[in-house]
Amino acid sequence: MKYLLPLSILLGLALSACSDTNTTEAHGAHQNAEATIVADTELSDISLYNLESEWQTEDNETIKLVQLNGKVQLVAMMYTNCTYACPRIVADLKRIEAKLDNYKNGEVGIVLVTMDPENDTPAKLKQFAADNNLDPERWILLTSSEMNIQELAVLLNMKYKNGGKGEIAHSNIITVLNAGGEIIHQQEGLGKDPDETVKTIDGLLQNI
């Protein structure tokens, strides 16, 4: 069983590497598939949900980012071995979460993406979520291949460098996505006053 996971990841990589061949040819079918997920929202040109990569959740489910659509999402990148900045980014997210009392989990979600796919298996992410008391109804933790993570990172304006030796130098950014996956606001740095981010979320939810 142990060997199945790496295998499936390899296969997944091979399949997703050049996946855009049939987007136009199979347009009809594709749209139908998306229609069930996207409901009435048509993805805009700048939606992050245009990424077609596949991700594993902390429950080891495979999803595409478009499945996050429909609610406001807070997105941040971290890795579980990170001893200093990452607990703080989680703390920052919790500070924002604490001000979202008025909103149901169905309105705002929080997405943590690992920068260290080699170490952060779905099981590790699940443990991290439990250790940090992350409400599974609100939070989702994601991993994928290094390339897919890098692709998402560049879209989030995240810079990171895996220096080996278990240390990753990275920027700290919390991104607010609207229901359609567009970047609406970014909170940069650690320990920032969450007011502006919270206001952005308030604004977005009044529009929903």
């Binding site: 295998l7 050049c18 990170c82 200093y84 692709e151 990171y160 460098k161 700290n172």
Partner: protein
Amino acid sequence: MIFHRLFLLILLVGVCCNVQAQKSLPKNMVNVKGGTFVPLYGSDSIPVKVKTFLMDVYPVTNAEYLAFVNKYPKWRKSAVKKLFADENYLKKWDGDLSLGPNAAKIQNSPVVNVSWFSAKAYCECQGKRLATVEEWEYAALASETKANAANDAKFYQRSIEWYSKPNPAYLPPVKESFRNYYGLHGMIGLVWEWTQNFNSAMVVGESRADVTMDRQLFCGSGSDGAKDVKNYVAFMRYAFRSSLKANYTVANLGFRCAKSI
């Protein structure tokens, strides 16, 4: 146990393929023998190891890129999403499938005004990938005669002169560009090139620090981290990369692909 064997078998098959790949190089790729070098930027002066890899001899040309968009409509000028390429994507092309009136002049020149996403997709569709910054810089250390011309002042001087020339109206054909020790053309003196991890080279400070985004670091403090200040050319490349976003398309920025072995 069965899985164990299966995995071993796959490993073995992988090894065979590697041996094959080494014997017969894919068309227009060369083998860049691995080694260590000290990159211009690094938090410390620890040499970086680069594994032996394959690299395209030439940057991708307009004609090659045209064949790609022919096959993958998603990457045509009129179809590409803004998320993946800005409004200057393939700016000089006439339309989705036309290089314009100067097609004959530019078909064998490097394709430019392409984004990181489009370059990455192109390489993946050839079963390749973009080179990492480390691989690219390692391969670019070579002069005509030496794999590592890091201490060759004349080589820098020539490189600086190349970079200080204004862009010509039409970029020259890739085959006419400078050929280095590995047989790679145009690593210097033709166009800038996208790399896989272009966004990782200039992380400043450490994970503790708040990193200010969009700090372009073109000058002043940007050079503090420079390892080898006399290699101004490499410094310019690092600075240029750090100013890019993945959907940017620039008139003198192209790419070539690489492959692990």
